[in-house]
Symmetry: C2
DNA sequence: TATTGTTATACTCTATAACTATA
DNA sequence: TATAGTTATAGAGTATAACAATA
């Protein structure tokens, strides 16, 4: 009775869930050393790479809903990592700017995360990782276009 | 400003989250046609493949906490797909048995899911999918062993 | 009229402590 | 004492509706 889930293991969706659920808590442990979680880390990276963007652009880039992005930016601001500056062009929007502290923490946490990623992908070759990235990107794209075309109707056809 | 997240895209953990978040809701749509969700579907598959196992074995096989498995089996039982029969060997435990209706639904929903998986992995070769499965399995295994060894201490060393 | 940021809210998934009945 | 199933609960993560200020 070693492999009770053998009839599920061939399903890509199941493989994805298992890999994601296993790695997620460990990623959070690494980021917690910097006072970050996944959403705040990825937001910080994007703000550092694209200073001046607004919250909607940030939310869209990360596929996070706008209401949920509010508290993410709140937290980054409370930690002194990011500033909301009023945009001149559009006074409804905030231009998000990283602070020096935010830039420094982004650099440090990225180093730690890249070290961790090397552990996570131990035993896999560069070619494997390239294929993995291509597969995951394709799956994401396929899923998004399937969602748009109403799967219920398709699969019952 | 097309690729705001280009500095995140090389991270396997980020790729995993994006692929998983995109495919998850579509998988749920497919399963919802059969009155199932991911947890109930995967549980049903395992019960059909391993009739007579108990709830702890089922929970361990799917990496679901025992308290959360209770309502999953409750739902399967309420739908008439699975029966809790008292085990003779150990009267604390339930032996989980699929009903004929449960076996039939497992077969139908698996067919639909495999059709959907083919759409999800469109554009990928058999070799790609083999590599993908190997990578995701390795990541799951690496993450589980990292979790056991306390990452905080490792990464700050 | 449409959009940005926001509040409130709700639903799912996940995680832990503590109970009961058996072993 | 240890384990199977259960209850209650709490925390993430995620989703939608509706509002004020601005376009």
């Amino acid at each position: 009775m070693q492999h009770l889930d053998r009839n599920l293991r061939h399903l890509t969706g199941y493989q994805l869930r298992r890999a994601n659920s296993s790695s997620m808590p460990v990623v959070n442990l690494v980021l917690a050393e910097f006072g970050l979680r996944r959403a705040t880390y990825s937001s910080l990276v994007i703000i550092v790479s694209n200073p001046g963007l607004n919250q909607r652009q940030l939310a869209d880039a990360l596929a996070i809903e706008r209401p949920n992005m509010v508290q993410v930016v709140d937290q980054l601001e409370a930690c002194g990592l990011v500033e909301r500056t009023k945009s001149d062009a559009d006074r409804r929007a905030y231009a998000l700017q990283p602070t020096p502290k935010g830039r420094a923490l982004e650099s440090e946490s990225t180093k730690a995360l890249e070290w961790f990623e090397a552990q996570l992908t131990q035993g896999l070759s560069e070619a494997d990782l390239k294929t993995l990235a291509r597969c995951l990107t394709a799956i994401e794209r396929n899923a998004n276009s399937l969602e748009a075309t109403d799967v219920c109707k398709i699969s019952s056809a």
